[in-house]
Amino acid sequence: MAEQQAPITAPIRRGPLDGRAPVTADGVSLTLPAFAGKLVLRGGSDDGAFTAAAAKVLGAGLPLAPNTAARGPRGLALWLGPTEWMVHVDADTCDALAAELTAAFAGLHAAVVDVSDYYAVMRLGGPRARDVLAKGCPLDLHPDRFDVDHCAQTRFVASAILLHQVDVGPTYDIQVRWSFADFLWTYLADAMREFTSR
């Protein structure tokens, strides 16, 4: 058997939207936030041992109310379902956090799954962001109904998305599967076209 040799070039990690220039229009912009590590946490909302273990590692409790997100010292936790959360963390700390969580969940019916590369996140912000989203997302995003740190798994036209309102701008982070990212970006950019003067 041959000896292992160093790869010819250092591996580069890339996302499906790398290199995309921001898209801007009157009152709305589409940008790429920094790449984040992403972990799916599985466990029961009603499993106190699980929620406590998660809170201990994350430094903040998981958001237990549906359609909400909670920011903690180690990242942002988004409610996906009664047994499922998405945690966005600094990419560099993702592996370590995953390991800590896995250790903390020992003996529990719980799971940690690294999905950092599965999903891409794009950021749509500005006073007209709601108008752009309304072109494909059936949710009522009126601030009385959907506000900062609300999140929802829903759809934009045919794409399944995880929508998170980041600030009152409003700014939204839109998470989508890798293979849909290019399409969704293109669709959103097209939806913004109406708000450009040329």
Binding site: P66, N67, G81, E84, L139, T154
Partner: protein
């Protein structure tokens, strides 16, 4: 397009869901003891009522949870949704709907 209240996520548009057919059909655990006809009834035969229908939906684009819904197949009225294992939505004055298998165990 129906507005469907996911028992976890709240009201969402129908396009976030997929339909799962009649609810409360319990899979026989003694299938080896069933006749072909009894097994065929479980696999293929449905109540398909004109009127109140207990049915399953899946929040495919949302929390990915299955749940049950009571809906009238004629008037279109949705009488309520509830989680698996929870008692059926009580629908006053609704006709009693026979359930597969006759005795209607909760799913």
């Amino acid at each position: 397009m129906l507005p469907i209240r996911c028992p976890w996520c709240g009201e969402r548009e129908q396009t976030e869901f997929s339909y799962g057919g009649e609810a409360h059909i319990v899979r026989p655990t003694d299938s080896a003891d069933l006749t072909d006809a009894e097994w065929g009834d479980y696999v293929f035969f449905r109540t398909n009522p004109r009127g109140l229908h207990y049915e399953r939906w899946f929040h495919a684009f949302g929390c990915r949870r299955w749940f049950n819904m009571a809906r009238d197949t004629v008037s279109g009225a949705i009488h309520g949704t509830y989680r698996p294992g929870e008692p059926r939505t009580d629908v006053p004055d609704a006709p009693r709907v026979p359930v597969a298998g006759g005795d209607g165990g909760e799913g």
